[in-house]
Symmetry: C2
Amino acid sequence: MRYELYYWASIQGRGEFVRLALEEAGASYVDVARVADGEARMVALLGSVAVRYPPFAPPFLKAGKRLIGQTANILLFLGERHDLAPKGEAGRLWTHQLQLTLADLVVEAHDTHHPIASSLYYEDQRREAKRRGADFVANRLPKFIGYFERVLAANPHGSAHLVGSRLTYADLSLFQVVAGLRYAFPNAMARHAGRHRRVTELCARVASRKRIAQYLASERRLPFNQEGIFRHYAALDE
Amino acid sequence: MRYELYYWASIQGRGEFVRLALEEAGASYVDVARVADGEARMVALLGSVAVRYPPFAPPFLKAGKRLIGQTANILLFLGERHDLAPKGEAGRLWTHQLQLTLADLVVEAHDTHHPIASSLYYEDQRREAKRRGADFVANRLPKFIGYFERVLAANPHGSAHLVGSRLTYADLSLFQVVAGLRYAFPNAMARHAGRHRRVTELCARVASRKRIAQYLASERRLPFNQEGIFRHYAALDE
């Protein structure tokens, strides 16, 4: 079976968490919006009344006849199918808990440049962004990254992975979040780097995994840009 | 086994989604922070390095020796244990997908009064709140509620429940979100009411369920107030 991933064609965004899991799993998939008419097909599906389980927003994944939405929920599904999470309930829920905490961080990172409304341009909320960005960099960013550092330090199987002794989708997602934060907040991340060595090492290990390295070097990996979740504005990273 | 729920003692907040599931299930639980020294015990647990699966923030649930965090993740766990979600994978994931969409709405509702930083007072971000609140009421609120109305209309088993023909934790959570939105945005919700009759009816049905009605009438149900996620500021609900 070939999965169909539905997400915006021009950004990594939330779709990237799904792409990384599919790539690591070596799963067959098509990134629908990046083929001809794909984005129009995605928008049509979003508005369709014929869909059994209608998603609220991209990304969503078509698996056979099923449509599965919400990034963390898609990963819950893929984790079970492709051995990217423990089989047992405790480990499965713990992996998911970490993913949901990363999802919270993603929202906060996004809202630094869009604190008022996603429908407005950054330029229309620049002053508010500066205030929110300052709080994010001073308080929220170190709190979140410090948490994942603590989780790695506390893992009884060692700090090579967030959960147990094997790679999970939470590791892939932490890699992606840190990559995004480095793009958006290079100064803040450099200042904090000494305090989250385990996180840094985990990210380097993920990037060097065979399939992930191949993916990152391919044209399938979109570059970060100023339209995604993670955007670099110098005013927000002082 | 008696569950222990850890959440702030003075607000419904995110803990309320867990309380509603525990109440509907008739589960035995203690709301730890509301007994003597409970909040201090919660804060100690949050900072403890001895915890196997450390939560990032409340709410978290102690089930036997396990600590489970993230609201939607706790509900995933309780849904399976207490028959508050379908057993099959498709229905289980669909219920969770709806919960995660409600969680997105909760963040946006909260951020109307705290668009800059949770650590600041509303009074310190009043101007920004007015802008964000206006966008929420005009665009986001109708989009989210309209989505749940559409999900109810599309349910092949009828619009009595979000998922299939039986109550799930997603129904309980939709009830809670709508109750909160009515408290925070009475004018906006009244204006939109004609467009989401199925949602309104579902909420009334949830409120009249025996255990939920008993809970809502009890002292265990905290009132909405100006410290929780849903707060009423007239300036944000014009």
